[in-house]
């Protein structure tokens, strides 16, 4: 029998995601991919995968997944949520386990993830990854286009996701040492490309105002509440490309930050664009969170990207055997239980 994860409960929106589908936007194919690539990276490292391997992205409410393989190794990283290992798929209770560490599960056991609290997504990485053919170079799920991932859609009850490995590698479990998550609430942007559609006073107001994440956040975009921004001459522009983190201002003046599943092109003026180093932080801003924007130069954004990638590269050095953490670093592990992902320390 093919080793697989059997979906006992689907959760609210569980999709396979990797770093996305680049190279086809000129045909109208959105990039998609992980909303929080840093947590995806961390989850993959814990199970020994290349950091961009496709994993399950869980939003809002997690799934219950039964192990149909000899045994598997998984790691859960991202939003805080109750994580339980059930003795079997029908069990109503099991043992609680921590995120930010690798866990071995045996045949018949099930992983149950509860409601997400302090971030919008978490990732479940499995050692070896899923045996899913990439579509246009990626296993990212694009639900709107019905492309990629598991049958181009979110997981549903009864699905069996094939695994590449029938059993986990023989090694000790690991966790992260000293990763601290602090949500970034000042998001750095580069003004433009259409900042000239707004009077300077409105751009200044945009940068000075505090915004609140509105109730409608999805993989496509994050609608903000707060100071409405007025356009100089209306809001209808001829469509142009939409970069990741584009902040478009529609007719009502309330900014929308466009995320992984953004359409390739669009027709509202974009006052600013979130820099690449700060995009993962957006996935950790839940409904009701406050945030503000800070304009930086292209050079500063490039420096921030360099620093961000260096931090990702250094993440591997923070992995330690779980046993060591248990004996010597119990308080540290406690801390690991509480973190929701990794953000760069340069903050506020």
């Amino acid at each position: 029998m093919t080793p697989s994860l059997h979906v006992v409960a689907a959760g609210l929106l569980t999709t396979v995601q990797d770093r996305g589908r680049v190279g086809y936007q000129h045909l109208g194919v959105p990039v998609s991919g992980a909303l929080d690539p840093v947590s995806l990276h961390a989850a993959n490292l814990l199970v020994g995968n290349p950091p961009d391997t496709g994993a399950l992205e869980v939003a809002c409410m997690g799934p219950t997944l039964a192990v149909e393989a000899d045994d598997i190794r998984i790691a859960v990283v991202g939003a805080r949520a109750a994580i339980e290992v059930l003795p079997d798929a029908a069990a109503t209770a099991g043992r609680g386990v921590a995120g930010m560490q690798s866990i071995r599960l045996r045949r018949g056991e099930a992983l149950r993830i509860g409601a997400l609290t302090d971030a919008n997504v978490l990732y479940i990485a499995v050692e070896g990854g899923f045996d899913i053919a990439p579509v246009l170079g990626s296993v990212a799920t694009d639900i709107r286009c019905g492309l990629g991932g598991w049958q181009g859609r979110a997981l549903a009850v009864g699905d069996r996701l094939p695994l590449r490995l029938a059993r986990a590698g023989e090694r000790n479990e690991v966790c992260f040492q000293g990763l601290l998550a602090r949500p970034r609430r000042r998001i750095r942007v580069i003004l433009g490309p259409q900042d000239d559609c707004f009077p300077d006073s409105e751009t200044a107001a945009f940068l000075d105002s505090e915004y609140t994440v509105g109730p409608s956040v999805d993989r496509m975009g994050m609608r903000l509440k707060g100071r409405a921004i007025k356009h100089s001459h209306g809001f209808d522009i001829a469509s142009d490309g939409i970069a990741p983190g584009s902040i478009q201002v529609p007719g009502n003046g309330l900014p929308i930050v466009l995320l992984a599943d953004r359409q390739t092109t669009g027709g509202y003026p974009k006052i600013a664009t979130v820099i690449s180093a700060d995009l993962p932080a957006l996935a950790r801003l839940t409904v009701g969170s406050k945030l503000g924007f800070e304009a930086v130069s292209v050079d500063a954004a490039e420096a921030a990207r360099r620093a961000h990638l260096a931090e990702l590269a250094a993440m591997n050095d923070k992995i330690i055997p779980l046993q060591l953490a248990r004996t010597n670093l119990a308080p540290r592990l406690q801390e690991c239980n509480l973190v929701s992902g990794f953000v760069d320390a340069v903050d506020e």
Binding site: Y24, I237, T265
Partner: protein
């Protein structure tokens, strides 16, 4: 935040869209000359295979260039684009002509009567005007393989619907502003539905995805009956019929 460049044929602006995208903007309007420049620059940029350029996306009046600034800093990319844009002419790419079947039967064209009322024409006249134009493919976008075609006859231009439909069927052809569009997939839509086209616009069956149309192509619609539409749809679905560019669109 911006710098200006001058070419033999026109001006353009370079606008940063974050640190991983740069917009080469030729103008602000939906305009065939601008579109021709965008398509030509996209071809040159693709041809140049510059390390650090991830992909480029042509739109009505600008080219979005996605790049990795750690491999190719913004300033270096801007300089390369300046070189490539030097002496750019709009007519560098070969335009193909297409004849696509379009069924305007009122049973699958729910807004035909509304368009007729709005324009003061009869539904038959609307069909006649819509199918009498060689449309130009400005860009693909929104959904895979979805072409934006223009320009629609002035008497048929009208704003988007007040409230978008939650769902329209795959193959729907619609108009809004001076544009007409074929929607390859089921999707929400705020445009006015004028008929349905059975052509397969998008195919990822092979190693490389294929979009039937590409920016710069010309498209003319041939009205077909509901029965012909069904027949064509079945033959296209079974693989018996493949739509190829017309050799001559002068008919």
């Amino acid at each position: 935040m911006r710098c200006f460049g001058v070419m033999a044929v026109t001006d353009y602006r370079l606008l940063p869209a974050g640190d991983t995208a740069l917009i080469v903007e030729f103008g602000s309007q939906v305009d065939r000359r601008l579109s021709g420049l965008v398509v030509a620059l996209a071809a040159r940029l693709t041809e140049a295979k510059i390390a650090g350029v991830v992909e480029c996306v042509p739109t009505f009046r600008s080219l979005s260039v996605y790049f990795d600034p750690l491999l190719l800093p913004y300033a270096a990319l801007a300089a390369r684009i300046g070189d490539l844009a030097d002496g750019l002419r709009a007519a560098e790419t070969e335009a193909r002509s297409w004849r696509l079947p379009l069924c305007y039967d009122v049973s699958i064209a729910p807004d035909l009567d509304h368009i007729a009322a709005h324009s003061g024409l009869t539904p038959a006249q609307v069909v006649e005007r819509h199918s009498a134009v060689d449309y130009y493919v400005y860009m693909l976008g929104f959904l895979p393989g979805q072409p934006y075609l223009g320009d629609v006859a002035p008497e048929l231009t009208l704003p988007r619907r007040q409230s978008p439909r939650m769902k329209i069927p795959a193959g729907s052809v619609a108009i809004a502003m001076n544009l007409t569009c074929i929607f390859p997939n089921e999707t929400p839509c705020g445009w006015h539905l004028i008929g349905r086209c059975p052509a397969r616009l998008w195919d990822i069956g092979g190693a490389e995805p294929k979009s039937l149309l590409r920016p710069g192509d010309k498209v003319r619609f041939t009205p077909v009956s509901l029965r012909e539409y069904d027949d064509l749809g079945a033959r296209i679905a079974s693989g018996e019929l493949t739509i190829v560019p017309a050799m001559d669109d002068a008919a």
